[in-house]
Subunit: 393 residues, 2 copies
Amino acid sequence: MEVEPPKELLKPLQLPQRILTGPGPSNCSQRVLKALEQQVLGHTHPEMFQLMDEIKAGLRYAFQTKNNLTLAISASGHGGLEAAIGNVLERGENMLIVKAGIWAERAADMAGRLGIRVDFMETEFGVAFGLREFELAVSEYRPKAVFVVHSESSAGLKQPLEGLGDIVHKYGGLLIVDTVASLGAEPFFADAWGIDVVYTGSQKALGAPAGITPISFSPAAEKKILTRKSPVPVFYWDMTWLGRYWNCFDPRTPRPYHHTISATLVYGLREALAQLAEEGLAASWARHANVSQKFHEGLARRGYQLFVKQPQHRLKTVTAIMLPDGVEAQPIIRYAMDRYNLEFSGGLGPTAGKVIRIGLMGVNATSGHADLVLRGLDDAVKYAKSCQLKSNI
Amino acid sequence: MEVEPPKELLKPLQLPQRILTGPGPSNCSQRVLKALEQQVLGHTHPEMFQLMDEIKAGLRYAFQTKNNLTLAISASGHGGLEAAIGNVLERGENMLIVKAGIWAERAADMAGRLGIRVDFMETEFGVAFGLREFELAVSEYRPKAVFVVHSESSAGLKQPLEGLGDIVHKYGGLLIVDTVASLGAEPFFADAWGIDVVYTGSQKALGAPAGITPISFSPAAEKKILTRKSPVPVFYWDMTWLGRYWNCFDPRTPRPYHHTISATLVYGLREALAQLAEEGLAASWARHANVSQKFHEGLARRGYQLFVKQPQHRLKTVTAIMLPDGVEAQPIIRYAMDRYNLEFSGGLGPTAGKVIRIGLMGVNATSGHADLVLRGLDDAVKYAKSCQLKSNI
């Protein structure tokens, strides 16, 4: 053999147990983890189709939609964004991207690669935009699709969505919404709010492992896909195939072989959605609201400022806390992990170097986690200040 | 709520235990399954980077390569094919596809969507092609890349690869090879055979769950990617990002956030590669060879014909068995599953309706599995013949 077996693989797998209170992934419940170790099944077995049908039903509940074309893509959340853009837009068409953080930059990058023209609506980072400025931008650019992030996890910002769909539709476009960091934790109504494409992350409030990404298309979006002039540029994201594999169109159509879905991730997502169905959406929203309120009150008592100034626009899942003067993020993050086993995260994109981001979602949205994170933050900031003092001497 | 929690999700998850002796996925080992239920970690944790480094080392061993740009994509095997094409070819460039079964059709579909011109080299289905006809095609079309399938699982055909790289390189192209159904089971030497891009499936002979796809690029392929005139059309497959995330380039470059890798699938692939390193490639190849020999001898004794006539070109993993006269595939498949819990599969693409496909790979490549499958096949064919008799009366 030219290449010998690597020694590092001959050691047993050893994994630390972390409390994932960053912006995601969040921890999985014991029930979800138990499902992951079940022996795999084939990607066209009747039992697999049954599980996929159950996931579809669970996702329609989670998204609050009756959309037929509701399924999960075999990729991470970024794949959901790229599939959304690639399916409802064609080369040469234009898209309006509301620039509120890093996801807008990624969306523009993805669209540009596919030859889609991009216009931006600029916003102040950490501030939700209003209907009037939104309509101004939409009426100016008349985009075929508009991309809005519900949960801007880089800033801890929740963008209200009511009314946006009507505006986009008035000017003949489709509304694409990213709910990666909010679905299951924040009230969301795809149909009532007129949202045409919505995707989310499996590994945040839903509490499934990463790698399988829920997505849903309204009848108008579905029509656009089925009447495209050119094929979807990426076979792997092509909803005309995926919709048949997931049995979203005429139920008499045979389910074709498109790709080998990961049985493991199907089990995990199915169980996560089952837990959401058992708890109930309203109860899950209330739990996340209560825990985030407790957490934000605790932060206020300690004198922390949040990056998002208006309380009603703060995400309940991910909180961006302004770094106290003269304190850096790195020692805080390191200390929290070393001493408390807690994941904290720095800023991302426009918030890089300015904030610490903490996530309380899914199984980690509990009062106990809020207390633990506050204690960990107290100590970590104290430590970071002492580092700062030392370096100033 | 407009949409109520679905009743089917309120039932507990119940999964059958199947013996996956179709063309894939194969079963996972208990050790791999045990790894899957470990609590998730973040996608940029040091421990995750360590596991990714171990996977890289394991893949270099499995592919027999020293390629720096060796990693795993967060998608199923089809994503590997699409990433291979999308990274080393640009819009308007030409690609030669050796047409030996369904994977060639898929490759052509994917390339066409990206504006890549496709030429075909036709072959007789179930028959390996030779160097002379290959050079004729390559010299005629002078493609920027050539796509060849090592393990054509739709026909049970193994295509010899020695010498192909030299021919492709002589005419200035890159050689892309699909080893989805062979890596770990059939001798394969990426560097020695001059292969520029190779990908495989995690869920076949390697025995990991589906959803994470190993891929490797030669220095020449890497250079082509880094000197493209246009960006890779799909962000999700972009090796300039993925290579940095997987730390394949300058090790001093920070590892950026590209997407949220699935910790669960990383654990599974790491453990599958560890088991391969422990057994040793040569031993794994010998095991698959012995089991397939025993299986093929058993089939011959029973008078079955194989779709691939030349014994040396039969895949050791997936065998395509000609359906006996007047017998249909469906009752055989159904009977084997109902009575033996065994997965058999029908044909695919050019073999549809003509064959039964049986796979013995990974943990299922044992003498006991070969015996069981032969017994199951005997009974299933007897049953299918009785169905046929009844329908003839």
